[in-house]
Amino acid sequence: MKILVQGKTQGIILKSQQAINFLGTVDKKTGIISDKNHELYDKSIKNSILVFPSGVGSSVGAYTIYSIKSNNTAPLAMICQKADLTVATGCALANIPLLVDDKMFTSLQTGEKISIDTESSNPITLL
């Protein structure tokens, strides 16, 4: 497991099998995914633990992650299958905990409640 951005939180998982392009896919005011072709279309990522393979698209998407945090519409934490620089820098700007773990990505499911503590020896626990 890689810890890209540290932090401590708990919440309910929203999982996508599809990568997310934060630039242009997420409504910054509401946190709702606005791309009709996306698996999470019409769902809000606000206050979720967002689990997805990785970010794709323009690095400017990092500013979008910062914006949704400023608008209080951001996820509480993100867990990715693989690291990408757009999501990494976006979460760093916004101070959103970000973990990368292939196994966790596979096992975690939408609706599960987990707690995250990057200081702990067991950073992710099912509640």
Binding site: I3, L4, T89, C91, L93
Partner: protein, 384 residues
């Protein structure tokens, strides 16, 4: 990643929220790219300047941090969206202009040198061999690693900004001695700058973090820049090494057929409504060369030339700008072809250029057709 005590303390927020955020960016980037530690850098070059690319979110972010952040090392800046001296000649709305000026002010407030150039390697003195820097502009990072004996990651706008504020950067693989596992064999005869741009574009697609290139003859400045620009556009590769590389290297040929593939991908129009030169911006040598080529000739259509402000001023003193303007060129500083808001598909169907990097963004971001031609062909076809 191993952090020093001082870096740990900054990451915890004991040295203020700006340094905390900057270290968060460096740690996130370093962990993502498997860097083992941070190292000091002496020069940062930032991207993320053009309002056309960073938008409202970028403008607001920079405005917010500029009240508290100060850069710690020499920091220079990529082009913005326009040249303030002639912006009224182009149809830009007031919102664009005021947001762009806000971005400019934010960077200046942080202590950044407002160079607005994508060719820092040509307009600033190059530090001594082996110096660690952090360049976000892709063509400049590749030029620095391949020609200038400097060492840099192909930074993002954010990691370069964090490096500017902290004076540190992740020590990842490209900063160490590298041995690429791929060699591209240059097989195209009589190459011009367009050929080198296409070679770079091809190399960026097939290469990993660095590639060897064999079969290159003497290259002029324009050709080197074209190759770096092309490579930076198509992938994550950050360095050329010249020669055959290790015996075990996989070999790939860049021949007429591969070149045609790149050409077919980027050349989408038979002719252009206007011409752009620059992406990367032109240096003084190219301005001089162009002024010479245009002696006694004039463009039959609009020709936009992009160069750094310092180059424009030098060129004016020597008399090149007079010659270029007489031949019908519009000379713009502080901005570039790449992601320019000054070319709009409502007014222009297609653009002629000799830049592979420019072609890629004109096609994909501006949504206009592109007609690729070498500079000598442009002068032959488009002037009288």
């Amino acid at each position: 990643m191993e952090l020093t005590k001082d870096e740990e303390s900054a990451l915890k927020g004991e040295q203020g929220e700006i340094l905390q955020m900057a270290y968060r960016i460096l740690v996130a980037t370093g962990e993502a790219t498997d860097a083992e530690k941070l190292i000091p850098i002496e020069w940062a070059h930032l991207s993320g300047v053009n309002y056309n690319t960073i938008g409202d979110a970028g403008e607001e972010f920079l405005s917010g941090i500029s009240k508290k952040a100060k850069v710690k090392v020499r920091t220079t800046l990529n082009p913005m969206g326009f040249d303030i001296d002639n912006v009224s000649n182009y149809n830009l709305d007031d919102n664009f202009i005021s947001k762009q000026l806000s971005i400019k002010n934010s960077y200046e407030a942080m202590g950044v040198t407002p160079s607005f150039s994508c060719i820092p390697y040509e307009i600033f003195d190059i530090p001594k061999e082996g110096t660690q820097v952090a360049f976000a502009e892709s063509n400049a990072a590749i030029h620095a690693n391949s020609y200038d004996n400097l060492k840099t990651n192909k930074e993002s706008a954010f990691s370069a900004l964090a490096s500017a504020i902290t004076g540190k950067s992740p020590y990842s693989s490209i900063r160490k001695e590298d041995s690429p596992n791929l060699t591209i064999r240059m097989k195209v005869k009589n190459p011009n700058e367009l050929t080198y741009g296409m070679l770079g574009f091809f190399a960026g697609k097939v290469g990993d973090t660095s590639v060897n290139i064999s079969g290159l003859g003497e290259m002029d400045n324009r050709q080197c820049k074209a190759m770096c620009g092309g490579m930076g556009t198509s992938g994550t590769c950050a360095k050329f090494l010249f020669g055959d590389g290790d015996v075990g290297c996989e070999k790939v040929d860049f021949d007429q057929k591969e070149m045609q593939n790149v050409h077919d991908e980027l050349n989408t129009a038979e002719k252009g409504d206007l011409i752009t030169l620059g992406s990367p911006q032109l240096g003084l040598e190219e301005m001089s060369d162009l002024a010479g080529k245009l002696k006694g000739r004039s463009f039959k259509k609009r020709c936009m030339i992009f160069c750094p402000r310092t180059v424009k001023e030098q060129a004016r003193k020597i008399g090149y700008t007079n010659e270029l303007e007489r031949a019908g060129c519009e000379i713009l500083s502080d901005c570039c072809t790449c992601l320019t808001p000054l070319i709009n598909k409502n007014d222009v169907d297609s653009v002629t250029t000799n830049s592979i990097k420019g072609a890629f963004y004109l096609k994909n971001s501006n949504g206009v057709g592109v007609n690729l031609k070498s500079l000598s062909q442009i002068v032959e076809d488009e002037t009288r």
